[in-house]
């Protein structure tokens, strides 16, 4: 048996190693377990189709088809944040992995970030598949006038969204099965107030403003304005304003997650919630 000491990274290198180690299962999961093709692509495509047909039934202008398709693709990210970020630590606790995460010197923030990065890669494939299939099925045409702005809108939305997911995850660290139900609760109501299937402007200024705390609200609105340039009159706020808000949200959520994680780990240790298994 080898007796020499093994070098261990610390600081930024440990953070980096931990992050990619946690992202790894997410990324390989895409290839190992193929049933997601059915669950996470075909089913959302069917759901989006439902909304498209409703628009057709009430004779909506064709642009709305594109709105619904884009919103439908972005639901993949919201579901990923709810189920694979927010409530993931609860599953991990259940499987006995959480103890090992907490016990390891790799920062929990890096574990969360790894989950986020893995989740984004994993979900990106699903969202792209939904977008491509639905666009082809319903003959959606896109007019991207400012591609760089679009990239910025997407990146900032992802940063803010997964920052929020990290904050949720840290809160759920001390919760039990409630996490699962809260994730359930945050599905349809958020589809509604964030305007996943219609321009959020339709909900009125105050509701839309309130809903802007969910990064996908303004993110989707900005992307719709940038992708369907001809229908920009349906946007809630000017794109630069929306992106600035996204940037602020990203910073706030990630910072809040950092502090919440430290605080809640402390509470978890005090109350014995990191080690409990409630079934």
């Amino acid at each position: 048996m080898a007796t020499e000491r093994v070098a261990k990274a610390t600081g930024v290198r440990l953070f980096w190693a931990t992050m990619w180690a946690r992202a790894y299962p997410r990324m390989v999961g895409t290839f190992r377990e193929r049933s997601w093709l059915f669950f996470e692509t075909l089913l959302p495509v069917l759901a989006v189709s439902g909304y498209v047909f409703i628009y057709r039934a009430i004779q909506a202008p064709p642009a709305y088809t594109g709105f619904a398709v884009l919103g439908g693709a972005m639901t993949a990210f919201w579901l990923n944040v709810l189920w694979s970020m927010a409530s993931q630590l609860y599953w991990d606790k259940d499987q006995g992995n959480l103890e090992i995460y907490v016990l390891a010197p790799g920062p929990l923030m890096a574990v969360l970030l790894g989950m986020a990065v893995g989740g984004m890669v994993m979900t990106g494939t699903r969202a792209a598949a939904i977008l491509v299939i639905c666009s082809w099925l319903f003959d959606v045409s896109y007019q991207v006038a400012q591609p760089l702005w679009l990239v910025a809108a997407f990146v900032l939305t992802m940063a803010a969204l997964y920052g929020m997911g990290m904050l949720f995850a840290s809160v759920f660290l001390v919760s039990g099965r409630e996490a699962w139900h809260l994730s359930n609760l945050l599905q349809e109501p958020i589809y509604l107030v964030s305007g996943f299937y219609f321009p959020v402007k339709a909900l009125g200024f105050w509701v839309a403003t309130f809903a802007s705390i969910i990064p996908l609200t303004l993110g989707l609105d900005a992307m719709r304005q940038l992708i369907f340039a001809g229908d920009s009159g349906l946007g809630f706020l000017p794109v630069p304003v929306e992106l600035a808000v996204q940037l602020v949200l990203a910073v706030v959520f990630i910072t809040a997650a950092y502090f919440a994680l430290a605080k809640l780990e402390q509470i978890g240790r005090e109350q014995g919630r990191l080690i409990e298994r409630r079934r």
Binding site: M1, A2, T3, R5, V6, A7, K8, A9, T10, R13, L14, A17, T18, W20, A21, R22, Y24, P25, V28, G29, R32, E33, Q95, G96, N97, E99, I100, Y101, V102, L103, A104, P105, G106, V111, Q266, R269, E270, Q271, G272, L274, I275
Partner: protein
């Protein structure tokens, strides 16, 4: 720094608040640990022996920074478990027996690699060490199996390796052989022993409720029951405590029902300190700790009066089990976790 003990606790205690619906009069808290004072030197293989619910796991969770104590202090390698958790985490690892953690979709190698990275091991070195360790424990041929395809025993073995790959200074093994078959349990014990021999400056804290395991492995032992430390010494010294007393195993014809009145019980015979009785193969086996051999005549007379008769009698060396029975008043197979107190 080398003077610093691996583990040090002072008046350590932990009380859990009980959650869930309660009726009036139901206990609100449960005391898991009370006034634990312990010093484990570096290089020791230290055992915590106690029945289920004695507080062994709570103590391990506190020492591994997963749980905060409610009273007292605890230090690992000189670092405080409450305020310096991160320093401790770099230097320790923990393996719980019966554990099935890990991601079912990942292979054995991938799971171990992932955990090694959480400790900051270089990717290549991690893979190399994983390969070596898998070889040592005989799991090399399953390195590319998804862990969802592994048997419970193999999954446990994988988790066991996880605890050693990261080159820890202190390893906490919580019932490491729980649920393993005899061969696998022996392999685990051999591994621990060899690892300690190869790394004389490292420390292992092991909890178990298997007496033989504790006797075989540990340099020193603490006996813990109902959250309290009852004794702390080397296995030899612990057993020597009973040297002056007489320890016997008697095999008698079935004794029948336990008498209702205390004065009719075997325990009431003058000179009898502790008794355990077990029915075995149509006979009754009695383990006795007597103040002196003189008390034996009274015991035999008692057995005779209850209509039984002696089949075999053996005077033997005290075992750890006898020590435990002498200290606690009962065998190890009794769950003592229900110990609740009013108020919080």
């Amino acid at each position: 720094m080398s003077e610093t003990p691996a583990i040090f606790t002072q008046n350590l205690g932990r009380v859990y608040k009980l959650r869930g619906p309660k009726k009036k009069g139901d206990p609100k808290t449960i005391v898991a640990l009370t006034d634990i004072n312990l010093t484990v030197a570096r290089g020791e293989l230290f055992g915590l022996l106690g029945p289920n619910g004695a507080g062994k796991t709570t103590l391990i969770k506190i020492l591994t920074t997963l749980l905060l104590p409610t009273t007292g202090t605890a230090r690992v390698l000189g670092w405080d478990v409450v305020h310096q958790a991160q320093e401790i985490r770099r230097r320790i690892s923990m393996v719980s027996g019966g554990e099935t953690s890990g991601y079912g979709l990942l292979t054995v190698e991938e799971n171990l690699w992932m955990f090694a990275r959480f400790y900051g091991l270089d990717s290549t070195i991690a893979r190399q060490r994983i390969g070596e360790m898998l070889e040592v424990v005989g799991l090399a041929d399953r390195r590319r199996s998804k862990i969802s395809d592994l048997s419970t025993g193999l999954r446990q073995k994988m988790n066991f390796i996880r605890g050693f790959i990261t080159d820890p200074d202190v390893v906490f093994l919580d019932e490491p052989t729980l649920g393993l078959d005899v061969t696998a349990a022996r392999q685990v014990r051999e591994f621990v022993r060899e690892w300690m021999q190869a790394h004389p400056d490292r420390t292992v804290l092991l909890t178990t409720h298997y007496m033989a395991e504790a006797d075989e492995l540990c340099d020193r032992l603490a006996i813990i029951d109902k959250g309290r430390l009852l004794a702390l010494d080397t296995p030899t010294h612990l057993k020597q405590r009973l040297r002056r007393e007489a320890v016997f195993t008697l095999r008698v014809a079935p004794l029948g029902r336990r008498p209702l009145r205390r004065e009719d019980m075997l325990e009431a015979v003058p000179g009898v300190r502790q008794v355990t009785v077990a029915e075995q193969d149509g006979a009754t086996e009695i383990k006795l700790i007597l103040d002196s051999e003189d008390a034996l005549a009274g015991v035999l007379d008692h057995i005779h009066r209850r209509g039984s008769g002696l089949i075999a009698l053996e005077k033997r060396e005290p075992t750890l089990e006898d020590v435990f029975i002498d200290l606690v008043g009962r065998g190890l197979d009794v769950d003592t976790s229900v110990r609740a107190e009013e108020g919080d």
